[in-house]
Assembly symmetry: C2
Homo-oligomer: 325 residues x 2
């Protein structure tokens, strides 16, 4: 029920954000066409929602946050386009990836263009100079950490001794950093006090951690129709998710080792492994880990007075661990 | 003589700029190591020089321009790292390219990191909010045009009917846009009036056009030792430079067609083609074209009062068409 309410609200704001993205990218130029491909195929727009609700939660107006929210979504899409090249992913959001459709050189450039458009949107927005600079600065710093996180993720390939701490550090950089940035950006735009900006950042970071851990969980437990990509893809690609890391400590270790990174693993073998991991409590452990971050995220919100936008932020963190895709 | 003077001054400022770049990128992290590879291997640092001298030419202080100048160099290096992947270039500045040393995924990320560091440096500089925002905005817009220019360059591959106008439009986006941005950025930082900022932008754009056309000329007429890469590389890669475009209108047409894009062309065949192009006046035509932009660049400076920095800008444009590499 809660999930449905927030999904409707997210969908409504997503439409507004999509309108801005379309006005920035829908051009005749063929490079713009390839850059617009991924953002035009949906996505949950959780990050824009987080920017807007964080702005409202500190008393700011939605209108001032919509363009920066669209910019954050562009930045997120830039990282996806480049990550898909690096990870050789062929499908995302139910459609072929940019490098599959237009080749790697164009996909690199399309990502670069999305990155530049994100900054151009913020710097050209109606924000005053102080806020435009600060928002762009938060985003630049986040991108540096995102790149380091993605690099760390790639460096896990070929290693079967990843520690849980290493995994958590990696997703902190690769995912939670941008969620933190979104919440801070919203709070800066809304004129929040410094300690409130920091608390919202903490909320965003915990939300991001919960979201990523649950995402890894979903990738193993959802269905292909719901995900828009194959179940167990992470395993096929050799991704060291928390499920893999914990599973390596159980009697499924050998099964994981033989399937990990094998792109031709039949679905039946994967399903059998997933059943074992469920029986051995690995799936519950991972879900529980996500729930811990959910609690921390909610706790960070306690500094805010009760309001509708605060309630939306609470719902957002619940949505992060209740969604099916 | 003039060339030697400006080279000494460029080298001195380059050292200062390199110090800032080193402080931003010289870190233990392996991704930073690959990102630092190209900027740590020299380059002429023409773009930082242009930022600093444009700032001084409107009465600004060098100190306020040095960090943004380093940022522009980072942005330039980001485009080189990504372009080298797209163009399959294996050497630059006399050393192997980033993707050759660390693979394409790391090179994509290293470029992304340089891009983010460029914005972070500007937004974290001592510039006031108005200038930091405007400088970052100029750079974001330039990056959009750079991406479109690189895309256009790639789209020339496989076409043998490129018009001179198309070529000029492509290098305007791919090269001259960033030179324009550098001059504008310097003028903004130095507190120049709007019409002076525009005139310096015009100077920078013409300088960039002259530089790129002369660069194509050098790539066919210099020596491997001086270039740090093979003579005729552009031809081997199938690049449609102005020399190729004009050469296609001469009796060398068939020779060009057979060599273009052939990576195994022996040096002797290339040398023979270059001799023919020289005899047929193609090399002179291209050099003359560059000289036309040199004159326009100098003319744009006439709005500035005489000063040492103005003299440096005049020398810079002469250097652009007198250098050997």
């Amino acid at each position: 029920m809660v999930t449905m309410m927030i999904e409707a609200e997210m969908a409504s704001l997503a439409e507004e954000v999509s309108g801005i993205i379309s006005s920035l990218l829908q051009k005749e130029d063929p490079l713009f066409k390839s850059a617009y491909h991924l953002p035009s195929h949906g996505g949950k727009r959780m990050r824009p929602y987080l920017v807007i609700k964080s702005c409202e939660a500190v008393g700011g107006e939605k209108e001032s946050a919509v363009t920066p929210a669209a910019a954050v979504e562009l930045l997120h899409n830039f990282t996806l386009v480049h990550d898909d090249i690096m990870d050789n992913d062929i499908m995302r959001r139910g459609v072929p990836t940019v490098h599959v459709l237009w080749g790697t050189p164009t996909a690199i450039l399309a990502g670069d263009l999305l990155f530049a458009e994100a900054f151009d949107a913020i710097l050209g927005s109606t924000l005053d100079d102080y806020r435009a600079r600060r928002v762009a600065s938060i985003l630049a710093k986040a991108t540096i950490r995102l790149s380091v996180g993605q690099f760390q993720d790639m460096s896990f390939e070929g290693r079967d001794d990843i520690l849980e701490e290493e995994y958590l550090e990696m997703i902190s950089g690769k995912t939670a950093t941008l969620f933190r940035a979104c919440a801070e950006i919203g709070a800066v735009i809304g004129g929040g006090r410094e300690e409130i900006i920091a608390k919202l950042g903490e909320y965003g970071w915990n939300l991001g951690m919960a979201f990523q851990i649950f995402d890894d969980y979903l990738g193993m437990t959802s269905s292909e129709d719901e995900l828009g990509k194959s179940v167990g893809n992470d395993l096929r690609e050799g991704k060291k998710t928390l499920i893999v890391i914990k599973g390596m400590q159980t009697k499924s270790k050998d099964a994981i080792k033989s399937l990990l990174g094998n792109r031709n693993t039949p679905q039946a073998e994967l399903s059998s492994l997933i059943s074992s991991l469920r029986e051995e409590g690995v799936l519950d452990y991972v879900r529980g880990k996500a729930m811990g971050y959910v609690e921390d995220a909610k706790r960070a919100l306690s500094c805010l007075p009760d309001s509708n936008p605060k309630e939306s932020l609470v719902q957002l963190v619940e949505f992060a661990v209740k969604r099916r895709k």
